[in-house]
Symmetry: C2
Subunit: 187 residues, 2 copies
DNA sequence: ACCTGAACACCGTTCAAGT
DNA sequence: ACCTGAACACCGTTCAAGT
């Protein structure tokens, strides 16, 4: 007499995603997720291999979310406007959901190995603007430079590394403007 | 009959530093550190408040190390040469000791709250070159932009986020050149 | 004044037994 | 075919008892 599944990977990942948002990576425990889903911890192992696997799935979800966010920010402006809008959208996300942002952009000991395909997902819209901004030949380098800067800035901002004061909104603008100017292909 | 201390904070932090290097943040356990130091885990609590405290001290050590490293890289070249040399020195460190680098530049759930003074320590040599490069008025913004980019690039490189291939050495050069050009004060 | 063993709470994970 | 309780290993941390 087979027992019908009382949950599913989808529901487990969704629960994990929401636990992560409000308890952080450290609070993302199998026990908490199980109780959120209405099941006992051992049952989760019928649907995911282990905690690392669950974390990987949750991070992949966040990557998809990030891609949507960035794609939506790139409107019909020129390349520089779109790049600026995407940078601001990413900062908004980092502020709105710091745990999700950190899970994606800092290699917590927990996240262990993240599928590199996950990054490719989120990187698509960035590559597209980078190509328009820097030209096809430098699209990859330009995309990496901008992404590295934004990820680094926001990670450090969230970590409280920018303690020397000054207006961080302005500092972020300063950075994005400097990068756009530097990467822009000769007209 | 008071018992003479069989260890010290210094020795504990040094042990923690070396355990971190070869086992990562996740392998940095009180048990491992205790055994490295020749003592039982409960004894550590006579010298550090708890694991978070130990992690904080280890990270502060890494920050000092990083400052030395950066200061040594800034030779007698002009501002652009020094900035380049410092960026390369940081990358060398990230490759040589990835766990130490990650402990400093990614807010592991473990690191919890890092003293912001720790960042100030490591930032000093960067601020100094930034002032020479971008002028005193923009020193802080320029230092933040360069640091954010380098931290982001190296974190992503270590995480395997740059899977799309291409020469990463060249990509790093591309980034630092672009940033130097963008931040350089009008001559 | 520091060290220790014993103990506790909490975690991930396995597994035999239920349905 | 999935769920469960019981169990195990491992972790951080506390504390009374040793010296």
């Amino acid at each position: 007499m087979p027992a019908p599944s009382r949950t599913s990977v989808e529901r487990i990942v969704a629960a994990g995603r929401s636990v992560l948002s409000d308890a952080g990576m450290e609070g993302l425990t199998m026990q908490r997720v199980a109780s959120e889903v209405g099941v006992r911890p051992p049952s989760l192992y019928k649907h995911v291999a282990n905690r690392a696997d669950l974390v990987r799935l949750v991070v992949a979800d966040i990557a998809r979310e990030t891609r949507e966010l960035l794609a939506a920010a790139a409107g019909e402006g020129d390349a520089a406007d779109d790049a600026r809008a995407m940078a601001l959208a990413l900062r908004g996300f980092a502020h709105r959901d710091r745990h999700a942002f950190e899970a994606m952009f800092s290699p917590a000991a927990d996240a262990a190995t993240i599928d590199s395909a996950v990054y490719a997902t989120a990187a698509e819209p960035i590559l597209e603007v980078a190509a328009r901004l820097a030209g096809a030949d430098h699209a990859l380098d330009a995309a990496r430079t901008v992404t590295a800067w934004a990820a680094g800035f926001l990670t450090m901002e969230l970590a409280g590394a920018f303690h020397l004061g000054g207006d961080l909104d302005r500092a972020y603008d300063y950075g994005i403007d400097a990068l756009i100017a530097a990467l822009r292909k000769p007209q």
